[in-house]
């Protein structure tokens, strides 16, 4: 071994050991755990552990709450991604306007919610969304709309949580879009302007194609993010009302650490993994198509 090689191993071995112990090994064990009936009995005494094959998955598919959780999570993603991406893009376009001054100031202010703690800001929003004392309903009252029981009405709870999530995360994609917008070819923009293209036409035919790949990538990555919602419903609604905000991860947490059905919960984790893997493969495909990879 050369001196350089020795130094290299000295540098990489500690972190690789930790990655292997707290990430790779448990991930492999998750596969094993998913085919056992690991529960509170096995937790007390290993001899109670049995191999159940795909039994956990069969049970899951017969559990209405699991389907509820999947549906809720899909709804969160389907509604949340357009909402979050739309807000980010609107903010980025607004900030990109040549006449806007103090851009760094606005950018930092709009990004601020992203770095806050989910639990703390969810607490704040729980209060913002309060039926009687919340600012949201007060604002609605101004425009003459009746009070909405945001976190208590099964139909309003998902939009209510999405309002909070959008507020919290839009700054992230806004920054990414701002960078993409600064790369829009200005000579093309100028040519379009000289040809008399309207504002919308310029956006549609110059800006959009230029930032399209970024937009797509952000959307796909957001789907993966929305699949992992947990703290928001945990703090704001405890999965209710009528289990409308129980997400896949919330279901996994309850199954695992409330009822101690760790085998069953592992099966949920594996399904979540497959879903995220599918999204990531789509992302890689898009990446290759636009030659980023």
């Amino acid at each position: 071994m050369t001196r350089q090689e020795r130094a290299a191993w000295l540098f990489v071995a500690p972190v690789l050991t930790i990655i292997a112990l707290v990430f790779l090994l448990p991930t492999l064990l998750a596969l094993a755990l998913g085919v056992t009936d690991y529960s509170i009995y096995a937790l007390a005494d290993w001899s109670h552990l049995r191999f159940v094959g795909l039994g956990n998955f069969v049970t899951l598919f017969h559990t209405p709450l699991f389907w509820r959780a999947l549906t809720n999570t899909a709804l969160f993603a389907a509604l949340g991604v357009p909402m979050a991406i739309g807000t980010s893009l609107a903010a980025a376009l607004l900030l990109n306007d040549a006449t806007v001054r103090w851009k760094p100031l606005w950018r930092v202010a709009l990004f601020a919610p992203y770095v806050t703690s989910v639990v703390a800001t969810a607490t704040v929003w729980q209060y913002m969304l309060n039926t009687r004392f919340g600012l949201i309903n007060r604002a609605l009252a101004w425009v003459g709309a009746g009070p909405v029981d945001w976190l208590g009405d099964p139909h309003a709870s998902i939009p209510a949580i999405l309002l909070f999530v959008t507020w919290k995360i839009f700054g992230y994609n806004m920054i990414v879009f701002t960078a993409a917008l600064s790369a829009v070819p200005q000579d093309l923009m100028e040519a379009a302007r000289l040809d008399g293209a309207s504002r919308w036409e310029r956006f549609r035919h110059v800006t959009l194609p230029a930032i399209g790949p970024t937009l797509l990538l952000a959307a796909v990555m957001s789907v993966a993010g929305f699949l992992q919602l947990f703290a928001e419903p945990y703090v704001m609604t405890q999965g209710g009302p009528a289990q409308r905000t129980t997400t896949v991860l919330y279901f996994m947490f309850d199954e695992g650490f409330k009822w101690w059905n760790l085998g069953q919960a592992s099966a949920v984790a594996l399904i979540l993994f497959l879903l995220i893997l599918a999204v990531t493969l789509v992302q890689a495909r898009i990446g290759r198509r636009y030659e980023w990879l």
Binding site: V100, V115, V118, V119, A120, T123, F133, V176, S266, L272
Partner: protein, 283 residues
């Protein structure tokens, strides 16, 4: 340039209003936290306290004797726990990942490319998959309800290693080779030549790790069972389950949790923003 002037006024006003709306919840969090008890639960909901009072912070943070028994929400211990956990996690993560990232970029060793590929592939696996078995492993090792148990998973910094590697690639090889020709050892090259050049990256990474650890919720919720060991988010969630109706108290708790990280972010936002775009560090 008259239309341009009008457009400027409209655009700037829109941006200002949008920013105002975004910051409103944070501002309200602060003003409500200073309201006297019960004021936030009046109709219509007030934005400004009728009188500024510290009583919510006092109740939240100070241990008091009630009917002969001591009572407190254990927010202050949680604050120290969060601070210690985040600081230690940051320090250890830097110590582990920065040299590794450098080695992956600039040092030749057998298996380097294969290990690198393995790291990139494992980015696909979400952390939640490892959580349940990890809990069982930590249980066997006696790490449940310990700070080591909270910190350890965060030290498996795959993103951080790749992030440092990406930044290190920009350092010219000639510089490192010249030092080698001059007879400097590898450790010395790393410490005196590479590390100073990586300083901005190290600050960025430290910021990411610190904020990530401070805001982390699911894993501490799983691994910590003893109230006195709770980190702030876990403590706040627990208080919220019992005192959700006491808006002023909860807002004070939210301020205590949010303000420190906002302050750090504002002070170092330059690093954060460039770091976010430069590497693919998970947000």
């Amino acid at each position: 340039m008259r239309p341009r002037f009008v457009r400027g006024v409209v655009a700037n006003t829109l941006v200002a209003l949008f920013t105002l709306a975004t910051l409103l919840p944070l501002a309200w969090m602060v003003t409500v936290s200073f309201m006297p008890r019960g004021e936030a639960s009046s109709f219509p909901p007030p934005f400004w306290p009728s009188r500024w009072s510290w009583e919510n912070y006092y109740e939240l943070l100070v241990r008091r004797e009630i009917d002969g028994a001591f009572f407190d929400y254990r927010v202050l211990p949680a604050l120290w726990n969060s601070l210690a956990v985040a600081a230690l996690a940051t320090l250890l993560a830097l110590l582990l990942t920065v040299p590794a990232g450098y080695a992956f970029a600039k040092l030749r060793f057998t298996g380097r490319e294969r290990l690198l590929r393995l790291l990139i592939v494992s980015l696909v696996v979400p952390g939640q998959v490892a959580m349940l078995p990890l809990f069982l492993i930590f249980r066997e090792l006696g790490l449940v309800n310990s700070y080591a148990g909270v910190i350890l998973p965060g030290l498996a910094g795959i993103f951080a290693v790749l992030f440092v590697r990406q930044a290190t690639l920009a350092i010219p090889d000639e510089m490192i080779d010249a030092a080698r020709l001059d007879g400097a050892g590898e450790l010395r090259i790393f410490a005196t030549i590479v590390l100073p050049l990586l300083a901005p990256i190290v600050v960025t990474l430290a910021l990411f790790v610190f904020l990530g650890s401070w805001n982390d919720f699911l894993w501490p919720l799983i691994i910590l069972t003893d109230q006195d060991r709770y980190t702030l988010p876990v403590a706040i969630a627990a208080i919220g389950r019992e005192h959700a109706a006491e808006g002023e108290l909860m807002m004070a708790a939210a301020v205590v949790t949010t303000l420190p990280v906002l302050a750090i972010f504002l002070a170092l936002q330059r690093y954060y923003m460039t770091g976010m775009l430069g590497g693919s560090v998970k947000g």
